[in-house]
């Protein structure tokens, strides 16, 4: 492709974008000759250029459009249909341009007769319209402007081709005597003709011609306006009338504009940016060296270099800046088309279009912006009917505004429509399981609005082809978050809603926090870092575990925490996870708040983002790399990627946490985290926290009854509700705290009066209880607390579960090793066994159990599940029997009830006894028997 063509394509595409915008403005304001002239000029220039480089198809299209516009200028009424047709023509020209670019310069075959004939028909039809009064009366000021400019162009590009009927038609409009200082139309005409002739008509000078026209337009517009009382305009007129002054101005103007800006290839800019980044890195390296070398002489020079580099960096960054208006350019057209389609009157206001931001960022927000404007037009604004009923003006307004704030650009998209429907969003959020009714009831509206950014969330009552398909706002949010931005929404019923987007100015250089994990350093973008928290055994903030998942209680929030090393897959598998002395970086991505555990935090630094090689680009957790002052390359961690895993741990992660958690419990000895509650009385009651799946609020109104038993709908299923005892309040309205227990599809809710606290306590049973629902009582933090028997409640809810434990406590327990792959069962049986005086170590797999058996602790008895993934109970028993160290340890098999054929096989494998999994009493009895025997022997 030669340079001429490339330049033509760039220029024409720009012109067309402008034409799009101008046409839409023109449609609303058909009397504005200024706008019409702009469009006419653009199309005319294009026509000339096309002819010049031999693109006949484009030239004839442009010619037809130009003819129609010329008719507009002559006063034919401007109709939506006609503007629509010109817009379609613009689209067609764009399509052809794309093909020309693809084919490196040749026009695609095809005919545009269809469009041309329509355009011609429109231009020809109202020939009489010049005489007839136009639909909108022509503005006496605007119309005369059109004429001289046209003749200027004619004089330059096609001096004799067009008749001057326009001038005659227009001249008649000025029906008053000239005021002092005004010039007659003829005079102006003459001046402009003379001026224009001095401009060479060659194609290469077309740009200058544009400028000449631009000035001419200004001159013409100012000349006849003194009626409006504009003094400067009056003074301007005599100047314009002076041919010499005029031509001098034209030259000045042409010179200054062409000298002030040049077109630069984007690749060159990118290259410059890269070089400056290198320079910044080298400077950082030098500074690092200088820091170490106290006495060095080059410090002053280095300081200077440092400043210059900084300034250079700033300057280069500015070259990459573009006004945000570039991203808005297509919006007026889109809104116009939408308004037509939806039958609404919509006005698009743009404020702060000149606000600049990095072109890379600009590219990224184009689509989200378009989507949001479409949304506002479709859902935000009411129909004309509705607006009238609400006493609003027919025309709805969408306002786009942009401004700088700190290191960010804020873009707001607001409409004066009906606002978001809070009730609908609440209902939908509940329906989609995003929040419970109780949570929603407590939520302020501002928080409820944010649900519209959730995936698959659409409250549009009807799906239009514009929007309402439930994809969109979540994509908008993720697009914006990818570039480190954030989006929020506010709304007032009946008054409209406002979306606020906060985006960083640039992506090339970002402030980052340098952290360390497993001896490696990583950069965390500062924009996502909320705070740093140090957790120590006695510190205010503590890491707790909720069903094995570590969480940080930070003020009123409960944050999931994950070690960074684990997220990045560099964790040492063998190492136990401890959070007694941990450094936690709290990150926020969108609405998600979570903590990552790091080994050390070193400092913050402005890092230059280097893109990853193409083979490394799709990595989930890493968004780029950078070179630090010491020359080492480090990875930039992507907070969005972290959030995806940290906020919704997948299977493997969950199980990892599980195993390490189990190990940690074993290491801690006999303390058990307990959830303290009150139910029915002021006495404290406790439930092992590990058994609790979740804490929820029970909404009284949601309570239903099936077969006389209370149930609620919970996450798409009916779950039974059990009250701790008869004295627990049965709320008629409002909410009540509830513990959710679940295992293998069985889920139930246990209603209590109050949730008091979570404590780590030695589960030392002081009393065995005769009450069915209690395991006994224990002293917790100096207070007596009844330990609830969760098994009993599950039994109550589901009928046939674990039988009640009977028998008396025996102090002379032994060391037990419990092997079961179900964490729930382990957690259920552990407190029971501990309550019976055994020292319990629980393992999640046979492998882990064998490791433990190989360790220092000597176990008196092993209780093992039979069916386990990986190594099953039989293989485990054989392995134990094969080891001379532990071959004599009795092993009790746990199996599903009724699987008696397994008994024989179990005995053959080496199991000592067989107990049904559900028979807790039997298990305790058997354990006592065996340990008793052991102790007896020992005695």
């Amino acid at each position: 492709m030669d340079d001429l063509l490339r330049e033509f394509l760039t220029e024409t595409n720009e012109s067309l974008d402008v034409a799009d915008v101008e046409l839409v403005k023109f449609e609303q304001d058909p009397n504005n000759a200024q706008i019409l002239n702009n469009i006419f000029r653009l199309v005319h220039t294009m026509k000339g250029t096309c002819g010049f480089i031999g693109l006949s198809r484009l030239a004839s299209l442009a010619h037809a459009a130009e003819t129609l516009m010329d008719q507009f200028r002559q006063g034919i009424p401007v109709t939506t249909e006609a503007v629509g047709l010109v817009l379609i023509t613009v689209d067609r020209i764009k399509e052809i341009l794309v093909e020309i670019e693809a084919s490196e310069g040749s026009e695609p075959p095809g005919s545009d007769e269809d469009l041309i004939s329509q355009l011609d028909a429109l231009s020809a039809a109202p020939a009489a319209a010049i005489a007839a009064p136009p639909l909108v009366p022509a503005d006496p000021v605007a119309a005369p402007v059109a004429a001289p400019v046209k003749s200027v162009m004619n004089g330059a590009a096609a001096p004799v081709s067009e008749p001057k009927q326009g001038v005659a038609a227009v001249m008649q409009q000025l029906e008053r005597a000239l005021k002092p200082g005004e010039v007659s139309m003829e005079e102006l005409e003459r001046v402009f003709r003379e001026t224009a002739v001095e401009v060479p008509a060659a194609r290469a000078k077309l740009a200058e011609l544009d400028n000449a026209k631009a000035v001419a337009t200004v001159g013409a517009a100012t000349a006849p306006t003194p009626a409006a009382g504009s003094l400067p305009a009056v003074r301007e007129a005599p100047h314009a009338a002076d041919p010499e002054a005029k031509s001098a101005r034209v030259e000045d103007h042409a010179l200054s504009v062409s000298n002030q800006s040049i077109r630069v290839n984007v690749t060159l800019l990118e290259h410059l940016m890269t070089m400056v980044s290198e320079l910044v890195l080298t400077r950082n390296q030098l500074l690092e060296i200088a820091r170490r070398d106290e006495s060095s002489d080059f410090k002053v020079a280095l300081q200077r270099l440092s400043n210059v580099t900084g300034e250079l960096q700033g300057a280069i960054m500015r070259t990459r800046m573009q006004p945000i208006g570039n991203a808005w350019q297509k919006l007026p057209r889109i809104v116009r088309d939408l308004a037509q389609e939806l039958g609404k009157h919509i006005e698009l206001e743009q404020i702060g279009a000149e606000t600049e931001l990095d072109r890379q960022v600009l590219e990224q927000i184009k689509d989200p912006l378009t989507h949001m404007v479409r949304n506002s037009a479709d859902h935000g604004l009411e129909t004309t009917e509705e607006r009238r009923r609400a006493g609003k003006p027919d025309k709805g307004t969408i306002r786009l505004s942009a401004y700088h704030q700190g290191g960010h650009v804020i873009v707001e998209i607001s409409d004066d429509g009906k606002g978001l429907d809070v009730a609908r969003i609440r209902a939908k959020a509940q329906e989609n399981g995003l929040a419970t009714a109780a949570e929603l009831a407590k939520m302020p509206d501002s928080q409820v609005f944010r649900f519209i950014f959730a995936a698959g969330f659409s409250t549009a009552a009807k799906i239009t082809n514009v929007s309402g398909r439930g994809v969109g706002m979540d994509v908008v949010r993720s697009n914006i978050e990818v570039i480190g931005g954030a989006v929020d929404v506010t709304s007032r019923p009946g008054a409209g809603c406002t979306f606020t987007i906060k985006i960083p100015l640039t992506l090339a250089i970002v402030p980052a926090l340098i952290v360390e994990a497993m001896g490696e350093r990583f950069a965390l973008p500062q924009s996502s870092v909320v705070e740093l928290v140090r957790v120590q055994p006695n510190s205010f903030h503590q890491v707790k575990r909720l069903k094995d998942a570590p969480v940080l209680c930070l003020r009123e929030k409960l944050l999931p925490i994950v070690p960074l090393a684990q997220l990045l897959g560099i964790a040492d598998d063998g190492k136990e996870q401890k959070f007694d002395d941990a450094l936690i970086v709290v990150l926020q991505v969108g609405n998600q708040l979570f903590g990552v555990v790091v080994d050390a935090v070193s400092h913050t630094e402005e890092i230059v983002v280097k893109p990853m090689a193409s083979v490394l680009r799709q990595l989930p957790m890493v968004s780029g790399s950078t070179i630090l002052g010491d020359g080492r390359v480090i990875m930039i961690v992507d907070p969005v990627g972290l959030a995806k895993v940290a906020a919704s741990p997948d299977e493997t992660l969950g199980s990892d946490l599980h195993n390490t958690a189990a190990a940690a419990t074993a290491a801690q000895g006999q303390t058990t985290p307990l959830l303290l509650i009150r139910a029915g009385s002021d006495d404290l009651k406790a439930v092992p926290l590990s058994l609790v799946t979740r804490l929820e609020e029970l909404e009284a109104t949601k309570l239903e009854h099936v077969n006389g038993h209370p149930v609620i709908q919970y996450r798409g299923a009916l779950i039974p509700i059990v009250y701790v005892n008869e004295k627990v309040k049965r709320a008629i309205n409002g909410t009540q705290p509830m513990l959710i227990f679940s295992d293998e599809g069985k889920t139930m809710g246990l209603v209590v009066d109050e949730i008091v606290d979570v404590v780590d306590a030695h589960l030392d049973m002081q009393l065995s209880s005769d009450a069915e629902n209690l395991l006994g009582a224990a002293i917790i933090d100096g207070q007596a607390a009844e330990i609830l028997d969760v098994g009993h409640y599950i039994d109550q809810a589901f009928g046939s579960w674990f039988k009640r434990l009977s028998g008396t406590r025996d102090k002379s327990g032994g060391k037990l090793l419990v092997v079961d792959d179900s964490a729930f069962y382990r957690n259920l049986i552990e407190p029971v066994l501990k309550g019976n005086g055994f020292e319990v170590t629980a393992c999640g797999s046979a492998r882990e159990a064998l490791d433990r058996l190989g360790g220092e602790t000597r176990f008196d008895i092993i209780v093992s599940d039979v069916e386990m993934p990986g190594m099953d109970g039989f293989q485990f028993a054989q392995a134990v029997r094969g080891d001379p160290q532990i071959r004599n340890v009795p092993i009790i098999a746990l199996a599903s009830e009724g699987a008696y054929d397994l008994v024989e096989r179990g005995r053959a494998a080496g199991f000592t006894d067989y107990i049904a999994k559900s028979d807790r009493a039997g298990l305790i009895a058997a354990l006592k028997e065996f340990t008793g025997a052991i102790h007896g022997e020992a005695a």
């Binding site: 990853m612 083979v615 957790m621 080492r632």
Partner: protein, 157 residues
């Protein structure tokens, strides 16, 4: 891609220069025009969660170079000891191929290049564009483009 290989074999007359490198027990020849530089890899930063064939990245005079572990790429066991790296450019990006050791630069007659034996491990055959018989051993001609393209396909797999 195979077309491209054929052209290389048939069209260029005379001799080609190869940088010889040793990866595991095997001697490979890299077309000299593909090789930008030879350096000792130092301070390689591991990239979390990437494929094992990529050893990591390092800073080579201000450029970030992606280091490819050639032993792993060729399915050879990891070898200990010091290693070298060959710097190459591929689609505007810098890569370093980690090899065991460098040999001399050899001028080899194109006519004496023989096709890959049919029983060559397909994993290797996909990267080699022929064999030269040297007096003491065989030299496999390594196609750098194919080797790096392998990284992308491995990632997809």
């Amino acid at each position: 891609m195979s077309q491209h290989v054929v052209i290389k074999q048939d069209v260029s007359p005379g001799g080609s220069q190869f940088v010889t490198v040793r990866i595991g027990p095997q001697l490979f020849g890299l077309p000299i025009e593909a090789v930008q530089e030879v350096f000792v890899p130092d301070h390689i930063t591991h990239v979390p969660l990437c494929i094992p064939q990529i050893e990591g990245v390092l800073n080579l005079r201000g450029r970030i170079v992606t280091m490819v572990n050639m032993r792993r790429l060729l399915g050879l066991p990891d070898g200990g000891g010091a290693s070298m790296a060959v710097g190459i450019e591929h689609k505007g990006e810098s890569y370093g191929l980690i090899i065991d050791s460098m040999g001399e630069v050899m001028m080899l007659d194109n006519a004496s290049r023989e096709a890959n034996p049919t029983n060559l491990d397909p994993q290797w055959a996909g990267l080699a564009t022929g064999v030269h018989r040297l007096p003491s051993e065989l030299l496999l001609v390594l196609d750098v483009e194919l080797a790096l393209a392998r990284l992308t396909t491995d990632r997809a797999a």
